[in-house]
C-alpha cells in the first residue's frame, strides 16, 4: 500500500488555492503592516484637496495615489486601515461561529438521539430567518461597535458549521477507528476530540474560509448602514456609504472599497473551494 498522503494531489498544483491564498495572505500582510505602509493618517483631513481622483484619472495628485474622500482624507490609507478592521472582524466572527457550530455539530452528530433532534430543529429554525434582517436586529439590541458585529455574525452563522460538522461526524462515528477507540476504553469526549475532530479539519478549514468571506460582507453591510463603527473609522462599508452620496462626482470613493471586498471575498471562496478539492477524499473518487 502506498503512502496515505499520496492520495491527495499536491496543494501547490491547485491554481485556485494558490492564487486565492496569495491574495488572502497579501490582505493580511497589508492589514498587519497598516501603520507602516499607509502613506497618510487615515483620519487626517485636508479640505482643500477633497474628492481628488485616483492616479489613472486626469487631475490626480501624486500625493494621494487612490484619491481622497469628501473631507480630503487619503483613500489608499483608509482602504489599508479598512482591511485591518475587515480582517479582524472576519477572523473573530468566523472563529466564534466555528467554535459554537463545531461544538454543537460534534455533540449532535456523535451522540444522536434527542439532543441531535433538538440541535437540528434549532438549526432549521435559525436558518429560516433572513440573515441580514437578523443581524440588523441583533446589532440594534447589542448596540453598535465591532464587538456586536462579531457577536451578531457568530450567533447567526454558527448553523453553517453545525450542519456540516454534524453530518460529517455521523459518517465518522460509524468508522472502524471509532469502534477501535471505544474498544480501547476511550470516553466519548476523548474520541470526539482526539479521533474525530482531526479528520474534520479540512472541512472546517473550508467552512472557515467561506465564513470569513461572509463576515467581510456582513461587516461592510453593517458599517454601510451605520450600525458598525462610527463614520470616522475607516471601514470599507463606511467608505462605500460615503461614496454612495458622491457617486456622481467621485465614483472612485465607492469603487475602490467595493473592489477590495470583491477581491477578498472571491479569494477566500477560492481558498475554501481549493481546500475542499485537495483534501476532501469524497471528491477524488
Amino acid at each position: 500500500m502506498a503512502d496515505a498522503t499520496a492520495h491527495y494531489p499536491s496543494p501547490w498544483r491547485d491554481a485556485g488555492l494558490v492564487t486565492g491564498s496569495l491574495i488572502v495572505i497579501s490582505f493580511f500582510a497589508i492589514a498587519i503592516l497598516a501603520h507602516w505602509i499607509s502613506p497618510h493618517d487615515p483620519l487626517e483631513q485636508d479640505l482643500i484637496s477633497n474628492l481628488l481622483p485616483p492616479f489613472w484619472v486626469d487631475q490626480h495628485d501624486p500625493a494621494f495615489l487612490l484619491g481622497t474622500d469628501s473631507l480630503g482624507r487619503d483613500l489608499l490609507s483608509r482602504v489599508i486601515h479598512g482591511a485591518r478592521i475587515a480582517l479582524t472582524v472576519a477572523v473573530l466572527a468566523a472563529g466564534f461561529a466555528a467554535v459554537l457550530g463545531t461544538v454543537m455539530g460534534l455533540i449532535a452528530g456523535f451522540y444522536g438521539g434527542w439532543i441531535d433532534s433538538f440541535i437540528s430543529r434549532l438549526v432549521d429554525i435559525w436558518m429560516s430567518f433572513p440573515a441580514v434582517l437578523l443581524s440588523i436586529v441583533l446589532v440594534a439590541v447589542l448596540g453598535t461597535g465591532l464587538h456586536s458585529v462579531v457577536i451578531a455574525i457568530g450567533i447567526i452563522d454558527w448553523t453553517r458549521f453545525c450542519r456540516v460538522i454534524r453530518a460529517e461526524t455521523k459518517v465518522q462515528r460509524e468508522q472502524d477507528y471509532v469502534a477501535a477507540g471505544r474498544a480501547l476504553g476511550l470516553t466519548g469526549p476523548a474520541i470526539i476530540l482526539k479521533e474525530i475532530l482531526p479528520n474534520l479539519l479540512p472541512v472546517l478549514m473550508t467552512l472557515f474560509c467561506l465564513e470569513m468571506g461572509i463576515a467581510v460582507v456582513v461587516e461592510a453591510i453593517l458599517s454601510f448602514v451605520g450600525l458598525s463603527l462610527s463614520s470616522d473609522a475607516p471601514t470599507w462599508g463606511g467608505l462605500i456609504e460615503e461614496g454612495r452620496q458622491y457617486v456622481h462626482e467621485a465614483w472612485w470613493v465607492m469603487l475602490i472599497p467595493m473592489l477590495c471586498i470583491l477581491t477578498l471575498v472571491i479569494a477566500l471562496n477560492a481558498c475554501g473551494e481549493g481546500i475542499r478539492r485537495v483534501y476532501d477524499p469524497v471528491m477524488h473518487k
Binding site: S128, I136, V141, V217, I240, M258, L262, N269
Partner: protein
Amino acid sequence: MSLKQFLQRLLLALPTLFGVSLVVFFLMRVVPGDPIAMMTPPGATEADVAQLRALYGLDKPIITQYVIWLGALFQGDLGTSISLRQDVFSLILERMPATLELAFLSTMIAIALCLILSLAGAYFRDRIIPRAVDAIASTAQAVPDFLWGLIFILLLGVAWPLFPISGRINPRLDHDLVSQFYLFESLIKLDFSLALELLRHLLLPAIALALPMTGIVTRLLKVSLEETWKQDYITMARARGFSRWYILRKEALRNALIPTVTLGGVQLTFLLGGTVLIEKLFSYPGIGNMAIGAVIQRDLPLIQGLILTFAVMFIVINLLIDLSYSWLNPRMRHG
C-alpha cells in the same frame, strides 16, 4: 388543498405570530439606550421626561406594557413612532406597497431567469451551454446582493448612466396616482410611459436582489431536471417519439420543481430580508429603508411594527409555498 386544510394552516400561523410578538416585544425592552432620553431636548426637566414616559406607557411594569401593546395590536394600533411622531400602522401601510412591488418584480425576474437558465442547461447536450449555465449560476450565487447592487450602481448608473440609481420615481414628475402601488396602478390605468419610468427605477434593485436567489435555485433545478430525466416515464415519453423540448416542458419540469419550491421558499424570505439593504443602497422609499432608520434612531414602536410586518410576510410566503406543493404534486392534495 381543501378549504378546511387551508383554514387549518392559517390557524397554525397564529401561534407563530404570537411567539414572534413575544420575542420582538421583550427583545426590544433589553435594548440599551433610552429612547425617551433621545427625544427630549437638552434642558428638559425630570417632570417632562416622566410625562413623556407615561405618554408612551413606558412607566408601567413590563408585563402590563406587553398586554397593552398586544391589545392595541389587535385593533391595528402599533403605537406612535418616536422619531417620526406618526402612527406606526399608517407609516408602514404607506411604505409597504413600494417594498411589495420591488419584491414582486424581483421574484418574477428570479423565476424567469431560473427557468430559462435551467431549461437551457438541461435541453442542450453540447459542452458549452450547460457549462455556461453552471458558471453563470455559481457567479450569481457567490456574489451577495449588496455587491451586485454596488456593481450595478457603478456600471449602469454612473459609468454608463442608463438607469436612475435612487428613489422610486422622478420627484419632478407630475403624476396623479392615488394608491401607493405606483407600478400596478399605472399599468391598470394603461399609462405606459409612467410605468416605464417606474420600471427604470425598479430594475437595478430588483435584479440585484434576484441574482443570488437565481443562482442557488438554478443550480438545484438543473440537477433536479437531470435526475428526473432518468425516470422511466421520461424514457417512455421519449420512446413514444415526443420531442426533447416537449418532454422537458410538459413532463419533467413539474416533478423537478417540487424540491426546488422548498428551496425557493426559503430563498424568497431571504430576498424579502434583502430588501432592507437594497432599499437603503438605492434610496428606495420602502419599509426596509425605514427599518434601518428606525434601528439607528432606536425607534422602538416602529422597529416592533416593522419586524411584525416582516414576520407576517414570511408566514404568508410559507403559506403560499405550501399551497404550491399541492398544485405541483396532486398526491399531496388529499394528504
